[in-house]
């Protein structure tokens, strides 16, 4: 789980081109959207594609994303339970 969390932080920084942010700067329970990392709706689409491409998870209901993408902690838990690759 810890390795997955680190992997997610690195992927998010790379995919979303978060300049000047290091994996260590993101706490596991920090909010990814809004006041936390400040991600927006376009970033949410990027994360949905990342789940599909890298972990084989297809989100059929976009509303699910709100809970899944709350933090690194919630993302890692969801991926662990649902990943197909």
């Amino acid at each position: 789980m810890e390795a997955l969390k680190q992997e997610l932080k690195e992927k998010i920084i790379t995919i979303l081109n978060l300049e000047d942010i290091q994996p260590a700067d993101i706490n596991d329970n920090d909010a990814l959207f809004g006041d936390g990392l400040g991600l927006d709706s376009i970033d949410a689409l990027e994360l949905i594609v990342m789940l599909d491409k890298d972990y084989g998870i297809k989100l059929s209901d976009p509303k699910e994303g709100r809970a899944i993408f709350q933090s690194i902690e919630t993302m890692a838990a969801y991926i662990t339970e649902n990943r197909t690759k």
């Binding site: 995919i15 081109n17 300049e19 000047d20 400040g38 376009i42 689409l45 594609v49 599909d52 491409k53």
Partner: protein, 354 residues
């Protein structure tokens, strides 16, 4: 036609064309077939959160436009008009590569959204929260001149008084590679990259962004008056001189009134003869300037030429790095620019001291 003044300029190019100085120190290329730009400090102009999705062409456009607006003391333009021949090729390449790499699956929105030609104009407007007229011209090597003509018309018609107008081009790795294969870009490892002595086909490419604030009002920061712009899609070499004379006549001038000419020589042995038609004949007795050895070739490189001409008119001197001949004039009042690319997209632009 109403007068149209150049009140502010911003230039991001392969040279250090921002800050103080006017081509005092130049980077003379000897080894590269694609020139890298001299990067400004983007963070001075673009918040990291806003800039993280932007490719370099968008960033350069925003920086150049911010410089021009600041110099002109303008917060909100009445119109934003951009010229670009190739548009945002870096994001286009990224999106197309993702299609191929992922077998048409897993396509993400960011590069697609940013890949359109009008991304630069759109991002400038978003940054300024400017809801005014916003138009992007995609007309090959006269894209920038098309934007200039529209800006002049907007001012003349009273639709706008201060227009942010510019040219932007981006060098994408794959696109540069394709252009090299096609012969538009000189091959890597060639030895004749020098623009004036080249005996080979193609040219040295680059990228850049140049923006101007054009206005119906003259002010303290004014560089020059943009008198006229003319475009011809196709000309034969023997037609160039006649077209130039017609252009000048339309502005109540003749050859003897011209104090300097800025020529778009790019080192392509097949097409630099167009410039020779003027340089070796009609305009042989006036100062001749060139610039693509400094800026590189790209569809809107002529915007760098206008930046150069504007600086010469305002500062009343010509840096040695851009001189083709050694003729000097006491005063640089009227400067004409001539550009073409591969015998097509010819343009004449006239700027005058005011």
């Amino acid at each position: 036609m109403k007068k149209c003044y150049i009140n502010g300029v911003g230039c991001v190019s392969a040279q250090k064309t921002f800050g103080e100085g006017f081509l005092d120190e130049v980077i003379v290329n000897k080894d590269n077939n694609v020139l890298e730009i001299s990067q400004p400090d983007y963070k001075e102009f673009i918040a990291p959160a806003a800039g993280r999705r932007m490719a370099k062409g968008v960033k350069n456009g925003i920086v150049a436009s911010a410089m021009a607006l600041k110099e002109a003391g303008l917060d909100q333009p009445d119109a934003i008009i951009t010229g670009t021949g190739m548009g945002c090729v870096v994001d286009s390449e990224k999106f197309l590569k993702a299609i191929l790499d992922n077998n048409e699956e897993f396509l993400t929105p960011t590069s697609f959204i940013q890949s359109t030609h009008n991304t630069v104009g759109g991002q400038i407007a978003l940054g300024l929260q400017c809801k005014a007229y916003n138009f992007t011209y995609v007309n090959g090597a006269v894209s920038f001149e098309s934007a200039l003509i529209d800006a002049q018309l907007q001012i003349d018609e009273g639709e706008a008084n201060a227009v942010l107008t510019g040219g932007v081009e981006e060098a994408g790795e794959a696109t540069m590679h394709f252009l090299e294969i096609k012969g538009n870009i000189k091959s890597k490892g060639q030895t004749d990259y020098d623009v004036l002595t080249s005996t080979s086909k193609g040219s040295v490419f680059s990228e850049g962004a140049v923006f101007f604030v054009l206005s119906g009002d003259k002010q303290q920061t004014t560089y020059a008056e943009l008198k006229d712009v003319a475009i011809y899609n196709v000309l034969d070499k023997d037609e160039v001189e006649g077209k130039l004379k017609d252009f000048l006549k339309h502005n109540n001038l003749d050859i003897s009134d011209i104090d300097a000419v800025v020529l778009g020589y790019n080192g392509d042995v097949d097409f630099d003869g167009y410039y020779n038609e003027l340089a070796k004949n009609t305009l042989s007795n006036i100062p001749q300037l060139y610039y693509k050895h400094l800026s590189g070739e790209f569809n809107t490189a002529s915007a760098f030429g206008l930046w150069l001409a504007s600086q010469v008119v305002k500062k009343q001197y010509i840096p040695s790095a851009v001189l083709i001949n050694s003729i000097e004039k006491k005063e640089y009042k009227n400067i004409v620019l001539y550009n073409q690319y591969k015998g097509k997209d010819h343009s004449f632009t006239l700027v005058s001291k005011c």
